[in-house]
Subunit: 444 residues, 2 copies
Amino acid sequence: MNDAKVVIIGGSVAGIEAAIVVQRHHKVEKITVIRKEEKVPVPCGIPYSYGTLGTPDKNLIPDTMLGGVELVIDEVTSLDRNLHTVTTEGGKNIAYDKLILATGSFPLVPQIPGVDLEGVFPIKKDIKWLQRLDEALSKARNVVVIGGGFIGVEFADECRKKGINVTIVEMLPNCLFLACDEEFCIRAEEILKGKGIAVITNKTAQSIDGSGRVEYVGLSDGKQLKADVVILGIGVVPNTDLAQKAGLEIGKLRGIKVDAYMRTDDPDILAAGDCAEKFSFFSGKPSGLRLASIATREARLAAINLFEPRRRNEGTIGVFATAIGEIGIGVAGLTEKAARAEGFDCIIGEASAVDKHPGGMPGARELRVKLIFDGKSGRLIGGEACGGVTAGEMTNIMATAIANRMTADQLTNMQIGTHPALTASPIAYQLVNAAEQAFLKMQL
Amino acid sequence: MNDAKVVIIGGSVAGIEAAIVVQRHHKVEKITVIRKEEKVPVPCGIPYSYGTLGTPDKNLIPDTMLGGVELVIDEVTSLDRNLHTVTTEGGKNIAYDKLILATGSFPLVPQIPGVDLEGVFPIKKDIKWLQRLDEALSKARNVVVIGGGFIGVEFADECRKKGINVTIVEMLPNCLFLACDEEFCIRAEEILKGKGIAVITNKTAQSIDGSGRVEYVGLSDGKQLKADVVILGIGVVPNTDLAQKAGLEIGKLRGIKVDAYMRTDDPDILAAGDCAEKFSFFSGKPSGLRLASIATREARLAAINLFEPRRRNEGTIGVFATAIGEIGIGVAGLTEKAARAEGFDCIIGEASAVDKHPGGMPGARELRVKLIFDGKSGRLIGGEACGGVTAGEMTNIMATAIANRMTADQLTNMQIGTHPALTASPIAYQLVNAAEQAFLKMQL
C-alpha cells in the first residue's frame, strides 16, 4: 500500500514508536501523528524529573525521533469509520487508510473528599501539569504519596532527595504488593525507611483536608497527616473515549479490544499501548498491566501488522523494573503470589550473591534472585531480582527465558559470561543456582 | 550409588564447582578434592588483585564453599585406572569409584630468548607466584604486557591504575582481536590509550633482554621497550599430563577428550574445565575457548552426569565479558569475523543508545550492540555489547537468546522491562532495535 495514509492518534511512547516502526517496515504515502500535548514526557522518567534530573523539561521525548512524520498538535474529537476520517478540536479533517489508536490512559483519581483541593496531584503525562507539581514541590515541607506502587515509591524516593518529609500511604499490606512477592516488598520498604520515608500500609486515605489547598490527609484509622502536596499514584484507566464513541469493542478490563495482531474489530483500525486491552502470556486471560515497555512492544506489533498479520502477540509477560536509590528491583512474569492465585503448582528457586566478584570489588552489592517455576511443565513462569543497577538487565534475561518457555533443567545448563566488575562469579551466578535449587525440588 | 567414593583432581573453579554440585545431586559416601595449591585465586579476578583489590590474597576462592568435602593439599602423580586409585606426591593412595579431572591449564610461554629472566611473569593460578608479581609491580616503573587479549588488557589497565607506564604488545592487528569484531577492538584500544597505555599491534616480542633480570623487550621491528616487569598473557594450554600418562584419549586441540556428558573414554572418569576438550555450539567442531564460566558449566554437567547421562552439553557458545575502567565489553557466540570464517552468510544488526533514560540521568553511558544472525535460518549466532556495567548481563541476554536459537523476528518481539536508572528507554532498547535492523535486511 504505497499510497496509504496512516494516522496515529496519540504521541507518547506508543504513538511515537508506532510512527517509527511504520516507517521502517512500510512504504506509505504519509504518516500523521496527532497529539494534543505540545511536548510529552518520558513516562517512566516522570518521578526522576524532580530529584534526579532537576525539572520536568529535562525529561522530554525528543520529537526528532519521528523523522519524516507529520506531527499535528491538536485533539481528535471524533472518528468517522465510514468516511475514514478523524476530526480535531482545531477543525481539521484528516483522512486515513489505516489508523492506530495510541490514546494512552488517565490517572485514577480516588473519589474522596478534598481530592480537588489545590496541591493534590494525580500524575498526568502533561508537561504543564508536571511543572506545576515542580513548583509545588519546591515549596513543600510535607508530601503524602497515596499509593505505594512503582510510581508512588519512585516519587517518594525523589521527593526525599529534595529534603522533603515524605509519607507513603498504601492500602495493601506492602508497598509494591501487586508487583513483587513479600520478601522483595519488605526489602523495598526497608530501603525507603532507611532514607527517612514513612511507610504506612493497610490504611486508606479517606479525605484530603484544607481550606482552598491541602493541609492534611485523613486516614482510615483516624490519623491526620500534615501535607503541603499530595501525590496520587494508584493506577491508570485506559483512555477509550474516542474508540467508544466510534463504536469499537471494549474489553473486560476497559481497554480497546484487540486480537493477537493488535487489530480492533474494525479492519482498518489497530490499537496499542495503555488504551488497548491486554492478555496474559500465562493464562490468556485479560491483563491489567500497563507499562511503557509493553506499550512500545504493542506499538511495534501494530506497526508491522498494519496491512496484514505478520507478527503475533503471545500475550503480555509483564516485565517491571524500578530503582530506589542505588537499589534496582525487577520482576518478570508472575510473582509466586500471582502464580498460586492462577492455580499453578509453584516450585521456587532462590539464590543470592554479590553482583561483582570477589566481594571486595568496589561497588559490589548483594543481588538476590527468586525464580518461580510451574511444577507441572518445569517451565519458568516468573522471576524477581533485587540488587544494584544490573538487576534491570538480569530481569530481562528472566523475561527472555520465560518467553522461550525454558525449564529449570535448561536454565541450570545456561551459558553465561562473567567478569569481576560486571557479574557474580560463575560459581555463584544467581540465575543458575536458583534454577538448580528448583530443579532439585522437582526431583523429589 | 550411596557408597560411592568420588575423587576430584584440581581445586580451582571447575574442581570446586564439581564438588559442590555432586553434593547437591547425589548421595555419596565421600567426596575428596585433591589440589596441589594451598589456596586458589578467583581466576578472573587475578588482574584485579593489583590495582583494584590491592593484593592477591584479597582474591581467593573461599574453601568454605566446599562444605563437607575432604580437601587434600597434595599433587596427584599417577592414576591407576585398573585399581581405581590415585597416588600423590605425599605418598597417599586414594581410591575412587568416580573420578573428575579438573586439572586446569598452564599459561603459554613463548619460546623467545630471555623468557626465563627474573621479572617475567606468565600468569600462573598460584597465589605465591602472584604475590611475587605483586612485589615486582610495587617497584616497577615500566611494564610490558605481551598479548593483548582479555588478560593482557585487564592487566594493563590495572597496572596503569598503580601509576606504572604500560605498553601492550599484540601480534595481531588489534587488542581483543580473537574476541571481538574490529569496531569493538578499536573502542577498547581508544579507552586504553585514553588512560595513557601504549598499544603496539602487528608486532611480536622477539626477545627479553637484561642481565639477570629483565631490562628491555625487543620487538620484531627492532624497537626496544624498557621494562622492569613483563607480563605474559598469550593464552593457556590444557594440563593433561596425568590423563595422558593414564592413557586417556586426548582431543585435537590438546584437551582431554569428552563426550556431550563430559565423560572421558573411561566410564568412571569425567573431565571438566580448562583441561577438557570443548566443541562449538555452532559447528560441532573442537573449540579452543577456555574461560572460568565455561569451566563452571562443564563441572556442573560432569557432576550431574557422574553416574548416568542426565544433562547434555549442546556445545560451547563462548560468552566473554571484560571491563576497561568504567567500560564493560561483552561477547556472546560468534563474532562476525568468526561467523564468516565458519561460512555463515551473516546478517548484521546494530543499535546504540544510552544505558539509562533520558540521557540526562546521572552515570548514563552509550551502550552499543551488534548482533550477528545466520542469514539462512534467521537465528542469532553472535552478539557484542560495549557500554557500562550492564553490558555484562546484556551479553547474557544475548547468550540466552543464542541458546534458544531465537530468530531476528522473535528478538524484535522480545518482552523487556525498562527503567530510567537501569536500562535504555523501551523505544531505544538496543537488542530489539539491532534485531529489527537485521530482520529488515532479511526481507530484502
